[in-house]
Symmetry: C2
Subunit: 241 residues, 2 copies
Amino acid sequence: MIVILLYLTCFNFNTMEKLIHSIRITINDKLYLKDPESSNLGKRIVGESILMINDIGFESFTFKKLGKKIGSNESSIYRYFENKHKLLLYLASWYWGWLEYQLVFATNNIPDPGHKLERAIEIMTRATEIDLAFTHINEVLLNKIVINEYSKSYLTKEVDQENKDGYFVIYKRLVNRMSQMISEVNVNYRYPASLASTIIEGTLHQYFLIDHFASLTSCDNKNTPTEYFKHLAFNTLNKNI
Amino acid sequence: MIVILLYLTCFNFNTMEKLIHSIRITINDKLYLKDPESSNLGKRIVGESILMINDIGFESFTFKKLGKKIGSNESSIYRYFENKHKLLLYLASWYWGWLEYQLVFATNNIPDPGHKLERAIEIMTRATEIDLAFTHINEVLLNKIVINEYSKSYLTKEVDQENKDGYFVIYKRLVNRMSQMISEVNVNYRYPASLASTIIEGTLHQYFLIDHFASLTSCDNKNTPTEYFKHLAFNTLNKNI
DNA sequence: CAAATATAATAGTATTACTATCATATATAG
DNA sequence: CTATATATGATAGTAATACTATTATATTTG
């Protein structure tokens, strides 16, 4: 019995590992000049830029500083990314793609729309934890970057052109998935897309407020954004969980 | 009869004019070196910066360009504002102060908490219109700046220090007013501050989406953000309007 | 009219966000 | 095993930005 259990555990572990390591988040290839996943240097650029942007903020972050930190050269980094704006878009796309994967995985087999939406809100609003499947990326810090910097990636004069070029597809797909799930709970609700975008963007904002403007939020360790948004969504949709 | 009516109209117009022109939006004096309201040049700096930021975006906006536009000198603008970041904080404070004034004015004498909150949401979410009381400021364009640039004023590494220095007091007071009105409608609701910040920040976001990511919002000319947020708030609070 | 104050003009600095060129290291193909 | 392609590193250079400093000239005020 013990042997079988151990065997199964071992089997599950290995298959899970293989499955996990075969997952790749696909990002619009216009966002980079050379795929950073294709080399060690590329992975270090991505991995260390997350630490550095988190550390000094996107405004102070430069390719020169990053080069120094990873023992490489400014000019080498420019061979991967045109500029730091595109690197930010790349990081954000990765983050939203990673979240999307979790969303789809977690809600896939839930038949009841109410339960499905509940689970979806939990995934989208929970505190981020490290994912061992991606060793070069610190998801916790990446989440912080998205909270602190994501708006800057679309609050630009170039947003419409970049939107046309598909720089925000993953994010848009994610909001649309949420929107659909909302409609499945209440077909008559007139604002599914707005509620979806409010939850996703609002989650980032509430986490920011917890850290910097505690008086502007009712959320903290006890009252989580998850509870807030679940209450908000289901009361708005006139459905009890 | 006609004479009296005309007289009353005239009287009301004059008193209203006086009242209106005696209103000043008070802004933290650490945000400027010299009060821009105190001179013609100061007003031109504020007025034209609104047009210019709106036109080319905050990133491309510089004091040098502004100087050229208003026929003044870069160095003269630096005598009013330390840098463009503080100018943005000044403009944003002015905007939120202006909105706060309207909020207080419009909700002042409403005894019923439900009606009061409804009116408050209308004020906070409606499309901006020109206010003749402030000739040097284009409120419609300022609203657009707040939509497109406000996040950048607090998504910085200096936010905690600047918050301590009171750079965001007006905004915080506004959110707190909304929060209190929400609590008055339903004392048992556990997330009044979060709902208030969601409505105020969410309004900016929904207007941005209407302009740039129409598929991510359910709002447009017919379904207004006002209707969306009124529905959201009152259903969440389990009160019918 | 003198003195104070506001504004303008000019110059200068460190940093940023690149581009260009050339050198060297490493991988790969024949 | 070598030729060659490819990746990376080093260095230099440019225009623009975000200022600071100084001096000159208007304009206001006492």
